[in-house]
Symmetry: C2
Subunit: 339 residues, 2 copies
Amino acid sequence: MYKPATIKDIAIALNLSPSTVSRALRDGYEISAGTKKIVTDYANSINYQSNPNALSLKNKRSFSIGIVVPELANSFFSQAIAGIESVAYESGYHTIITQTHDSSTRERTNANHLANRSVDGLLISMSSGTTDYTFLKTLHKNGLPIVFFDRIIDEIETFKVTSANFTGSYNATQSLIKSGRKRIAVLANAPQLSITNERLAGYKKALEDNKMPYNADLIRWCYKGGNDYQEVENAVISLLALTDQPDAIFITSDRISISCIRALKSLNADPNTMAVTGFSNSDVVDLLQPNFCYVRQKAFEMGQIAMQMLLKLIESKYPITEFETRVIDTEYHGMEKEN
Amino acid sequence: MYKPATIKDIAIALNLSPSTVSRALRDGYEISAGTKKIVTDYANSINYQSNPNALSLKNKRSFSIGIVVPELANSFFSQAIAGIESVAYESGYHTIITQTHDSSTRERTNANHLANRSVDGLLISMSSGTTDYTFLKTLHKNGLPIVFFDRIIDEIETFKVTSANFTGSYNATQSLIKSGRKRIAVLANAPQLSITNERLAGYKKALEDNKMPYNADLIRWCYKGGNDYQEVENAVISLLALTDQPDAIFITSDRISISCIRALKSLNADPNTMAVTGFSNSDVVDLLQPNFCYVRQKAFEMGQIAMQMLLKLIESKYPITEFETRVIDTEYHGMEKEN
DNA sequence: CGCATTGTCGGCAACGATTGCATAACTAAA
DNA sequence: TTTAGTTATGCAATCGTTGCCGACAATGCG
C-alpha cells in the first residue's frame, strides 16, 4: 500500500508537535528560524508533500479544476484543453479532465463527481445530447464556479466564451457564393447546441444578403455530431441523390467535416463539382483535399480565456454578479494556400 | 462557496446520529428497515453524495486512477485513453488525465501530484525527454501500483503493454523493399524511447534479411517527436539534399509522419519518387496522401489491457511478483485501399 | 522586584465519513 | 420483579492538516 510521509511522521522524527511542523513548513511567524530550517530540511530529505485530500477536506480548496468535454479525440477540444492547462499550470492549479462522449448521463455523473471531489471550479463544453440542465443549475446554485466554453447555454448566468460562429459561418458561406456556388447544402450538428444554431444563422444571413433562397431540403442534421460515420455518409448520399443536386456543402462541425470528405471520396464525387467548406480544427486539414476551405476556431486561446474567467470567479472575494460572454473570432482558410 | 450536503446535515434533519445515517446508507445489518428507508429517501431527495476526500483520507482508496501521457492532441493517446476509460468506467473508477508535453519536469510533478492526490494507481507512457526514472522508482517502491503502456521502460518491474513495434516495423520495411525501394531513409523519434529502438530494430532486420546495407546516413533523429515541425522539415530537406537521394522514407512516429508528409508537400516532392510509410493513428490518415502506407497501433485495445492490468495490481490482496509484458500486434495498411 | 510583553511551541478541535465498542430501550422468559 | 437476549442507536477515535488558544520562558520596563 502506497503511504506517503505525513506531518505527524516528521513531528515524531524531530520530536516536535504536528502543529509546529505544519507552521514551520508554511513559514508561520510564530516559529523560530532554527526550527524552521530543521523542519524544512528534514521534509525535503524525505520528499514530503502535503496530502491534498486532507487539505481539501480542511480548506475546501483543492487547487484543481474540472474539465468536462465531449471528446478528447477531437482536435478542437484537445487544443482548448492545452490552452486551459497553460493558464492553470502557471496559476498553480491542476486539471482533471473527463470526457462525456456526447452522453448526457456521462456528463451528469462526471460533473457531479468532480464537484464532490471538491474541484474549485468547472469548465464545461456541453455534450450534444443534453437538454436538461438541472444538474448544472443545482451545482451552480450551490456555489460551484462554472465557466462554459464553445458549446454554451443560456440557462445559466455565468462567464462564457465561444467563437464568432455567426460571422465565421457567414463569411464562409459568402465565400462559397462569391465563387459562384448556387445551391449550398448544409451538414449540421445536433440542433440543441448553441454553436449549431449560430452557424446555421450565419449561413442563412449570407444567403439572404445575396438574395438567395433558404431551402430546407438542403439541410441535413447529424445528431451524432460525426461520431457516427454512417449517419454522415447517408446524409451525403441523400444530398447527391437530389434531382436538383447541390454544388457545395457547408459543414458546421469538425468531425462531420472529416466524415463528409471521406464520404465524398468514397462516393467518387468530383471535388470541382462539389465544393466543400466546413468548420475544422484538425491539424492536418490543409493536407486533406486541395480545395477544402475551412473555418478554424482559436481553440487554444479560447481555453486560456475560459481558464482566466474561472480563476476570476474562484479567487474573487465577493460574489460576482456581472458576467461577460466573450466571443473569439475565427480564421477563414480559403483556396489560396498562403501557408 | 460550494458546499455539498454531508452526513451530518442528514443526521440533524432527521434527528439521528451521524453513525446511524452512515450505517443506514451502507445498508448495515444493525439498522431497522424503517430507519433505512427514511434515511435513503431523504438522502436521495437532497441528492446526497459522500465526500470522496473524506473517504480517501480514511480508507486510502480513491477509486480513481491517474493517467500520464505526453500529449492529448495525439490520436494514439486519445484513443488509448478512451480504451482505459471504458474499462475504468465499468469497474467504478474515475480517471484523472494529465499531459506532459514531453517534458520530463512536467512528468515528474504530474506523477507526484497524482500519487499524493491518492490515486489508486498510475498508467503512464513515458515522455521522450525522460532519462532519470528515480521519481517513478520511488513511487513504485513506496507501493504505488504502476502500469506502463506504449512507451515502456526496463528499469521498473511491473505490468507493461506495448505494440509489436519490431514486427510492425519489419513488415512495413519489407513492404517498401518488395515494392522496389532501394534506399529507405528513416525519420526516428527520440532515441531514449523504447518504441523508437524497437521500430528501428525492425527496420534494420528487414534490411538485413534482404541483404541490403544499413546506412546511418539515411537516419534522421527528431528529438522533439514531431512537436517541432521545423525539426522534421529540416530532416526531410537534408535527406532530399543527399547526392544519393533516398527513394523512400520510413517514419517511427505518428506526429513525425504527418509533419513529414506536410514537408514533402511543401517541398513539392514527387509522391512516386519518394514512397512514405510510417506509424500513424490519425483517423484521417487514409485521406491524406494516396500512396501513404502506414502502421496503425491498436490504441484502444492497448488502453483497455493496461487498465485491466492496473486493476489486477490494485485489487490483488497479496503482492504480485510475477509480471507480464503484453505485446499487441499492429495493423499494416498498404497501397490497396480495402476500406 | 513585579508585571507586561514577546517569542516559541504544544494541545485541542474540526473538516466528513466510517467503525468498534458501549449503551439504551425493549421483549420475553424465569 | 429480575435477568437474559435482541435490536437500535450513540460515542469516540481515525485519516492529515490547520486555526485557535493557552503554556512557558526570556526579556523589557517602571
